[in-house]
């Protein structure tokens, strides 16, 4: 299993070894500063800091000699759905996009927004695999980040530390062939080989139960510093938004139920 950078210092060393210019390294450094602010205190279910995962993703992209805007976007790829912008809204917005643009430039932001827009599920994965050749430049970058993200999530037997080994087995059987095809389609056979090896190793590894994380979190979670608490207006705002979502879902359910009853009545 190849070892990739997990800290900013390792990533900067790798960038220098791979021959990226000082201006390009400065661009990645700016993206790292943004990542520090947006993902501070966030952890993966395995207990690994989210920031380390982002650095790992960027490191995989560096190893593939990707363009600097792709590497920088890899460092903040989850900005619009996991980043804490200090606002009530948890999805992408104009203000958030503007903020990212001002910090890392329009080119990088375009890729990050593309990542947020690209669906990655049972329907979209086969469609993406069949249409790799038809993707535009940004979507090809986004797909490359998506594959680097998948690879990084499987490194160091991460799934086994979060008790999701069975889920990984099913996921591997279902999607690994498509991901390998996509990596080939993008022109990265080394990434395809790395995905195949890492997924198989991750699925066959064993970790003692004593080393596993006890967080029991199904997805990434925040551990705020003990001296801090959530701003009142944000917690109230988020409660209101989730209340509205619950109400909408209940109304939708009621409408469906009525239609169902009507159909039977007729």
């Amino acid at each position: 299993m190849v070892s990739y950078a997990q800290t900013n210092v390792q990533l900067f060393d790798q960038l220098r070894r791979e021959g990226y210019s000082n201006e390009e390294i400065a661009c990645v450094r700016n993206a790292y500063e943004v990542a520090m602010r947006l993902f501070t205190g966030l952890f993966l279910p395995s207990g690994k800091p989210f920031l380390d995962h982002l650095v790992g993703t960027a490191s995989i992209l560096v190893a593939l000699r990707a363009a600097v805007e792709v590497v920088a976007a890899g460092l903040i790829h989850a900005a619009y759905f996991r980043g804490d912008f200090g606002s009530i809204r948890t999805t992408i917005s104009k203000a958030k996009r503007e903020e990212i643009k001002n910090s890392v430039g329009a080119k990088v932001e375009e890729v990050v927004a593309g990542y947020d827009a690209m669906d990655w599920n049972s329907k979209s994965i086969p469609a993406l695999r069949d249409n790799v050749d038809k993707l535009d430049r940004i979507d090809r970058y986004v797909l490359l980040i998506q594959l680097a993200n998948e690879l990084e999530h499987r490194m160091d037997f991460a799934d086994l530390y979060s008790d999701s080994a069975e889920r990984l087995q099913r996921y591997t059987e279902r999607y690994l062939p498509s991901m390998i095809d996509m990596a080939h389609g993008l022109g990265f056979p080394s990434l395809a080989a790395e995905l195949a090896q890492t997924f198989r190793e991750a699925a066959s590894g064993e970790i003692p139960i004593e080393a596993r994380s006890r967080s029991n979190q199904p997805r990434s979670y925040l551990i705020p510093p003990n001296s801090y608490c959530m701003r009142r207006w944000i917690s109230v705002g988020q409660e209101c938004v989730s209340g509205v979502h619950r109400l909408r879902a209940a109304l939708r359910l009621r409408t469906r139920f009525r239609r169902f009853v009507d159909r039977f009545a007729h």
């Binding site: 997990q6 900013n8 210092v9 800091p49 920031l51 705020p224």
Partner: protein, 260 residues
């Protein structure tokens, strides 16, 4: 990429390979879980997370095949200096010690408690090197934790990433590098001594592009708080009061302010 771990996953993989028992791993996992609660949001001068640094120090101790409580204490070695206990206080306190003991046990806490007491600066290093014989086992282990801490900081060029840091870091190594190496040798860890010597040599020759330097000089750790969060009012008030008292002639009253 690196022979020492930087994440919990790499650390546990390493310790499993090195033959630590499941009981040992559970002890070290408890320490890691405490570390992420107390160091969350903290970054060292280079921008690396405090957690990555403590994992690095623990990984060095694990590579020396030291007992599990020593490796576990490597994960939380500076908790009384930089850890956020949420009490608005500083340093070692009875309530804090109790919290750490409950999480990781008495043995581990004893190492962590003694760590800040071992002063490590230009004046004390040579004295420590010359007086290793009377040290008990716990103090020898605490000294090893200090050396692992130093090695991890220098290995990642921790002092290089802020303006003015390169000179002070090189000066420190030129003055004290050989003392650190000799201390490791005298403690009976030639592999650690060789590693310290190698890293010292590399650090003296290393260069960092100016683009990577932090424009703000900060030699110490800093906290970056999630933007949706604010400091709790009692903590803010207590810290403000402490600052005011320290600046006044009533500085001796600081210790009497109850924790929040």
């Amino acid at each position: 990429m690196d022979r020492y771990a930087q994440t919990n996953l790499q650390l546990f993989n390493q310790l499993s390979r090195e033959g630590y028992s499941n009981f040992d791993l559970a002890c070290i996992r408890n320490a890691y879980e405490l570390a992420i609660r107390l160091f969350t949001g903290y970054y060292i001068a280079s921008g690396r997370t405090e957690i990555a640094h403590t994992v690095g120090a623990a990984s060095i101790l694990g590579s020396l095949r030291l007992p599990a409580p020593v490796v576990a204490s490597g994960l939380i070695h500076n908790v009384y200096g930089n850890g956020d206990f949420g009490d608005g206080g500083y340093g070692v306190a009875a309530a804090r010690r109790e919290q750490v003991r409950n999480a990781v046990g008495k043995d581990v806490e004893e190492y962590v408690y003694r760590f800040p007491a071992l002063k490590w600066n230009a004046k004390t290093i040579s004295a420590i090197r010359d007086s290793l014989d009377p040290l008990g086992e716990i103090d020898r282990h605490v000294l090893l934790i200090r050396l692992a801490d130093q090695l991890d900081h220098h290995r990642s060029l921790g002092g290089f990433y802020y303006h003015g840091g390169v000179e002070s870091c090189r000066e420190h190594i030129t003055r004290n590098g050989h003392l650190t190496v000799e201390t490791a040798e005298n403690l009976g860890f030639p592999a650690l001594a060789a590693e310290l010597a190698r890293v010292s040599r590399e650090t003296l020759l290393a260069e960092i592009p100016v683009e990577l330097l932090d424009p703000i000089a900060r030699a110490r750790s800093r906290i970056i708080v999630p933007r949706s969060y604010r400091r709790r009012l009692p903590v803010a008030l207590r810290q403000k009061l402490i600052r005011r008292l320290r600046a006044s002639r009533f500085a001796s009253l600081v210790g009497r302010i109850p924790c929040v």
